[in-house]
Symmetry: C2
Subunit: 196 residues, 2 copies
DNA sequence: CCCTATGGACCGACCGGTCGGTCCGCAAGT
DNA sequence: ACTTGCGGACCGACCGGTCGGTCCATAGGG
């Protein structure tokens, strides 16, 4: 409501955490560093977050939720396999590039996700993974895609590039996210193209 | 020579470190955990290693060196681009699968590589990367490969899957490393195939 | 006045690393 | 063949400092 002249403490903490976790890793970042960069005292931090771990969950939960919602919307269109795959790649690449730091933190720290609360993030990613695999498998069965490799291998390849994108993508770089997405989709669809 | 009934302490420490770093991350693993699993006391550890960081360097240095040497040998054969690319993929996949934990540790902790000593690991990976990129670029110029995507994008894709292989590869799984390598090479070469 | 938001002193546990010392295989001295 | 001395492998108590987390005082809007 009140348009705060500076962001509220909670938001500042979240932003500082994303930046520091991306740069130094979760275990390599102390709560003291986070609150110092956010301009908040210890008490203020623990007023908003129950623990350092809770902070980590919040950092990567948001991106995954958005990507999953976008996936559902794209699949719901019911387009041809090739078109659907292209749209999925485009959204994944662009949302990952737009939130590269969150994506990097999730990717690097996902092995810390062990408890009940975070298992759902794993399941979310798993669902995304399975959806793409099924899309490719169905496309191959229907003859829209060539059976040049197993659906699993193709899926691992697609997610492999995208998951590592935060490591090499630079917002100031030559290539815009849309162009990266196009190139990747071209590459994948060329491999899956059925011989004329 | 003397087939030690138990490995020497140094080797046990190294093995324990790889395992724990892969499971919990470098910062998430204490020296106390490493020495406990290795069955060595604190003093014994610091007799063999100057610091915890030095231990990390040793854990991932060896694999990179071997992969780079294999790459040089393959390139030196001077085979056709397609054949060379297939051989590089095969070696990368198989060596990564065989040393999945080291590969995982390197990939997850590479952002910690900042000092002089470790910069060489970065350069080694960079050289591997550039070699593949040039191979694809030359192949495209010569007409052996289709210009379906930029050489950089193709390279990122290949290394993307392979770097994430430790996350999903299971030695007891259905697919042998050689089969994974074949599938991946088939996929990549299908995309790069020039239309007949 | 109470309730939410915040500050900062403070806590015990644990961190990476040090240090003085023990143990033992082995080669030289006799 | 027995003794002596030495050097490297290894031990575990201990260090200062930092960790994540707690607690209470306080400020200020309703």
């Amino acid at each position: 409501m009140t348009a705060a002249v500076t962001q509220d403490a909670r938001t500042r903490v979240l932003r500082a955490a994303v930046e520091l976790f991306a740069k130094q890793g979760y275990d390599g970042t102390s709560v003291a560093q986070v609150i110092s960069q956010a301009g908040v005292a210890k008490g203020g931090f623990y007023h908003h977050f129950t623990s350092k771990e809770a902070l980590l969950y919040e950092v990567y939960g948001d991106l995954i939720t958005r990507q999953l919602a976008a996936m559902d919307a794209i699949v719901a269109r019911g387009s041809a396999p090739g078109e659907t795959l292209r749209a999925l790649i485009a959204d994944l690449v662009e949302s990952t590039a737009a939130s590269a730091q969150q994506a990097l933190v999730f990717w690097r720290e996902q092995h810390k996700l062990g408890d009940e609360r975070t298992e759902q993030y794993r399941r979310a990613r798993r669902r995304y993974h399975d959806t793409v695999t099924n899309l490719i498998r169905d496309g191959q069965s229907a003859g829209s895609f060539a059976a040049v490799a197993s659906p699993e291998m193709v899926t691992f390849t697609i997610f492999g590039v995208i998951n590592e994108l935060p490591l090499w993508y630079r917002p100031q770089g030559r290539k815009r996210p849309a162009q990266i997405a196009t190139e990747l989709a071209d590459f994948v669809l060329a491999a899956l193209a059925v011989p004329a």
